[in-house]
């Protein structure tokens, strides 16, 4: 990131090679549209280039900063294009995969290829489905507690409790994982 802040385009190229798969997966998870995802991927990395001066290593790791930026940008794009309803329809049409299976179609090869992903996914997937659902809607769809309550017909207080409990479990689980990773 320091090299990118100094205007080194090769450093951006390396960052892209390392993280484009994760960034695109996150974009796709939010907007559910392959063509738009590629456009947004390019926009996100351009924004990383333009905004690199705002990154502070004291506040966190580059990936965390990139994910925050990607998520914000993807949710904005989703809402701007008024694709929200369409994405919702797609989500409803995929009951076997959504919203519970955050790691989909995991094969043995994938497991060997990415132990970190599998370990993190294990923590997330260990949550009760009801907690996974509200976290999924909040994080990947950018919904507020009220929007989740309205979308799921769950009382607002229950949404809040499920979010709090679920996020705490993930947070605690990740802390334990840090020793293993």
């Amino acid at each position: 990131m320091l090299a990118i802040q100094a205007g080194d385009a090769d450093a951006l190229s390396q960052l892209y090679d390392r993280y484009n798969g994760i960034v695109k997966a996150l974009i796709l998870r939010i907007i559910h549209d392959e063509t738009s995802a590629d456009d947004l991927l390019q926009e996100v990395f351009m924004e990383i280039w333009n905004q690199a001066k705002n990154f502070s290593a004291e506040k966190g790791k580059p990936l965390g900063w990139m994910v925050t930026l990607t998520r914000r940008r993807s949710i904005d794009a989703l809402r701007k294009r008024q694709a929200y309803a369409r994405a919702e329809e797609r989500l409803q049409a995929e009951p076997e995969q959504q919203p519970l299976a955050w790691v989909q179609n995991v094969t043995e090869q994938d497991i060997h290829a990415s132990d970190t992903r599998v370990l993190i996914a294990k923590v997330i997937n260990s949550l009760p489905p009801a907690q996974q659902q509200v976290i999924d809607l909040a994080f990947f769809q950018g919904m507020s507690q009220r929007e989740i309550a309205s979308h799921t017909n769950i009382p607002l207080g229950t949404v809040k409790t499920r979010l709090e409990l679920g996020l705490k479990k993930i947070y605690d689980g990740l802390k334990e994982l840090k020793d293993e990773l």
Binding site: L12, R29, G60, L63, G64, N105, V123, S144, L167
Partner: protein, 83 residues
């Protein structure tokens, strides 16, 4: 708001799930707990990273990188010309 309640709110805050009426209490507690609050919030941003890392990486078209790098180099040339 005690610190445990603050921690619960902080996890909601980092994913943008605090309601407007909860934000004021959260910001007051954030000031009250000072550095401990800021440290905890920074740790909570690790949740973002974890959610992204839990996803199976997706393949991007190689043309995207070519376009991106062409735009970056063009911008560099423009700023070089301006100087």
């Amino acid at each position: 708001m005690n610190f445990e309640e603050f921690q619960n709110s902080a996890r909601l805050y980092v994913i943008g799930a605090l309601e407007p009426e909860e934000l004021q209490d959260f910001e007051s507690a954030r000031k009250q707990y000072g550095t401990a609050a800021e440290d905890f919030i920074n740790q909570c941003y690790g949740l973002h990273e974890a959610f992204a890392l839990s996803l199976k990486p997706a393949k991007a078209s190689s043309a995207i990188k070519d376009k991106l790098m062409a735009m970056v180099r063009e911008r560099q040339n423009q700023s070089g010309d301006a100087k």
